[in-house]
Symmetry: C2
Subunit: 343 residues, 2 copies
DNA sequence: TTCTCTACTGTGAACGCTCACAGAAGCATG
DNA sequence: CATGCTTCTGTGAGCGTTCACAGTAGAGAA
C-alpha cells in the first residue's frame, strides 16, 4: 500500500523532476513553460511529454516570488451591501470577468469593502502587490479606496465612469446617455408626450447620464421640461415604487415613464397596478439593464440592454493591457433597445 | 524628487528591513508575525513599531513557498450558469463566505466550472495545491469535480448534502425536510386540505428532502397521497409557472400549494393570477428560501427562511477546521417559517 | 558552585522558480 | 582559419519567507 493512494497529499512534482524526466535542464523546462522561445523542437517535445507524464503543474508561489507578479486580479466591490444583493447585474459582471480571466489562467479574488475596516485591510492587501490589478465596481463618487489605489499606481479598471477620480483611470461603461435617448425616443414614437422619469442616484454616472439623455431628447422634440415629471431613486425596487407614487401625485396626466433600472421599474409597475393604471395602455413603462427582472415583471419590460458580456470582456482586456504596461483607456459600449410588453 | 511619489511601484519593505529597523533578527520578526510565541515583550513592541513605520506587509508568496499552504480558498461553482444567474441565494452565500474568510485574512478565489474544459483546468489548479481548500456549491448528484477533489484529499465543504459522494465529505445544509414540514403544517393549520407541491429537481438533496417533508406531514395528518398534486420543477421561475398550470389541470380543487423555491413560487403566482385564482383566498402559496423574490412577489410570499448567514459562516468554519487537520463534519441548521401575505 | 530548565534570539538552509550569464554548436562571412 | 552571429542549453544566484537548530542568559534546584 502506497501513500499516493491514501488521500494524504504527496509532494507534487517540481520543475526539477520534469527536467530529469525529459533529460534537459531546469532552464529549458522554464523556457518551455514561458512561451518556448529559444527551445529546440526536440527539447520542446521532450519537456511537454515529461510534463504530461509527471502531472506537473507550475508552483505559482515560487514563480510569483521571483517575478514579482501574482498572476491574479482582484474584483473589488465597494458598494454598500444591499446593492450587491439586489442588483442582478453584479452576477453577470462577476461571472463574465471570472470567465474572461480564466481564459488567461488568472484567478479572480473577490473582495468586499463594505466597512471601514474591510476597506483598510483590502487596500493594504492590494497595495502590497498581492494582486496585479483590480476590477473595480464602485460607481458612487468620492470612493477613497479607488483614489488610494490610483495613487499607489495599481492597475485599475472601473465599471462605469468613476465620477470623483481624475481622468487617469481606466473604465468601461455602457453608453448610458445614448441608451436613455433611445428609450425616450421610443416612448415619443409611441405618441407619448407626458413622459416621466425615475432616475438612478445622482452621484453615479449612470444616474446622471440617463437623466441627461432623457432631458436632451425631450428638448430636441420641443417638449418643455417639467420638473414634476422627474423624481430620483436609488436603483432599488422600493425606491421605484415610491418614485411612481410621487410621480402620480405630481403629474396625474403622465402617459409614460422611463425608469433608470429594471428593478425600480418592477416597483413602478407595482405602484401603477395599485393605482389602477394599465400598462402599457394608460402608461407605458421603460426600464434599463435588461436584467432577469425585466422578464420576471408583469407585463414584461421594454428595456435597454447593457452589453454585460462585452463589458466584462473589455474590463479584463483593458486591465491586462495596463498590467502589461499600456496606458489607461476608456471604453464606451453601445446599448440596445429591447421591446417587450410594457410599451 | 523621489521615486516613491511618482506612482512607479517601489520595492516594498521585506522582513529584513523590519528586522534591521527593529534591531532584531529575521527570526524574531517572523515569530512576531506568527503569533508572537517565544518573543520578549520588548522585542514584540520593537517589531510592531518597525512594521508600522515601514508599512511592511508579509509577502504571501514567499510564505506559501515554504509552508506549502496558500492561505486562500476556492469558491467553486459547478452548477450550470443559469442557476447562478437566477438564484439569489448564491449572492448571499458568496458574500457571507467572502466576509467570513476575510475575518481570517484569507482571500476567496471564485471558480466557475461550467464547461468540461473549465472543469479540467480548475481541478488541475486545485489539486496542484494552489488553494488550501474548497467551498463547493454543486447540489446536483454525480459531480465529477467533487469526486476528484475528494479523492485527491483536498479539504472540501459542500453547501447542501452532496448526493453522489460518500459520507466522508463535509457539508453544511439547512434542514430542508424540517422546513418543508413546517410549511405544510402551516398550510394545514389554515384549514387547507388539498395541498399541492412543486418540488425542486429530484437529483438534488433540497428537491428530495422538501418533497419528503411534504409527504410525511400529509401522511401524519391522515391525508391520502395524491400524485396529481405533485409536480416537479427546476427552481426556475418558468418551471414554477409550468408546474402551477399542470397542477391546476390535474387538481382543480387544490386549495394550497407548497413551492420548493421562492423563484418558482413567483412563477406559480403568475400562473394562478392568469387563471383567475386569488391568493391566498382561493389558493394559499408557500415558498422556500426567503430570498428577495419573496418580498418582490405580489402578494408577498410566506416562505421558509434558510439561515444563509449561518450557513456561510459554518462552511468556512468547517473548512478551516479541516484544513487544520480535523475530520470532515456535517452541519445541519434549522430553518424558520416567515409568514407573509400569500397564506 | 554546578547543573538543568525555560525563555528567548540569531543563523543557515531550504522552498521552487526565473533570470542573467556563460558557453556550446552550427553556419555564414571575411 | 579566424570571426561573428544566431540558436540553443546548462548553471548559479537569489526572490522573501519559515523552520530546525544551535546558542545565550537568567532563574531555580541540587
Amino acid at each position: 500500500m502506497t501513500m499516493s493512494q491514501t488521500g494524504g497529499r504527496r509532494r507534487p512534482p517540481t520543475i526539477h523532476d520534469v527536467a530529469r524526466e525529459a533529460g534537459v535542464s531546469r532552464g529549458t523546462v522554464s523556457r518551455v513553460l514561458n512561451g518556448g522561445h529559444y527551445v529546440s523542437p526536440a527539447a520542446q517535445e521532450a519537456v511537454n511529454a515529461a510534463i504530461r507524464r509527471t502531472g506537473y503543474v507550475v508552483n505559482r508561489h515560487a514563480r510569483s516570488l521571483i517575478t514579482g507578479r501574482s498572476d491574479s486580479v482582484g474584483f473589488l466591490l465597494t458598494e454598500p451591501q444591499e446593492r450587491f444583493f439586489e442588483d442582478p447585474n453584479f452576477n453577470v459582471l462577476l461571472r463574465g470577468c471570472t470567465q474572461a480571466l480564466a481564459a488567461h489562467d488568472i484567478p479572480l479574488l473577490l473582495m468586499l469593502a463594505g466597512t471601514e475596516d474591510e476597506r483598510r485591510r483590502i487596500t493594504r492587501y492590494i497595495t502590497a502587490g498581492h494582486v496585479d490589478g483590480v476590477l473595480l465596481v464602485s460607481s458612487h463618487s468620492g470612493d477613497p479606496v479607488a483614489e488610494e489605489l490610483r495613487e499607489a499606481g495599481v492597475p485599475l479598471v472601473a465599471c462605469g465612469k468613476p465620477i470623483g477620480l481624475g481622468s487617469k483611470v481606466s473604465y468601461v461603461a455602457a453608453d448610458d446617455r445614448d441608451g436613455a435617448r433611445d428609450m425616450v425616443r421610443h416612448l415619443l414614437s409611441l405618441g407619448r408626450r407626458r413622459i416621466g422619469v425615475v432616475t438612478g442616484p445622482l452621484d453615479t454616472p449612470g444616474g446622471v447620464e440617463r437623466l441627461a439623455g432623457y432631458r436632451e431628447v425631450l428638448a430636441e422634440a420641443g417638449i418643455a421640461a417639467d420638473e414634476r415629471l422627474v423624481v430620483s431613486g436609488d436603483y432599488s425596487r422600493a425606491s421605484g415604487e415610491a418614485g411612481a407614487e410621487r410621480l402620480l401625485a405630481q403629474a396625474p396626466d403622465m402617459d409614460a415613464v422611463f425608469v433608470a433600472s429594471d428593478l425600480m421599474a418592477q416597483g413602478v409597475l407595482a405602484a401603477l397596478h395599485r393605482a389602477g393604471r394599465r400598462v402599457p395602455e394608460d402608461i407605458a413603462v421603460g426600464g434599463f439593464d435588461d436584467s432577469p427582472a425585466a422578464t420576471a415583471a408583469t407585463p414584461e419590460l421594454t428595456t435597454i440592454r447593457q452589453p454585460w458580456d462585452r463589458i466584462s470582456n473589455e474590463m479584463v482586456r483593458v486591465l491586462l493591457a495596463q498590467i502589461g504596461g499600456e496606458d489607461p483607456a476608456a471604453v464606451i459600449l453601445p446599448t440596445e433597445l429591447v421591446r417587450r410588453a410594457s410599451t
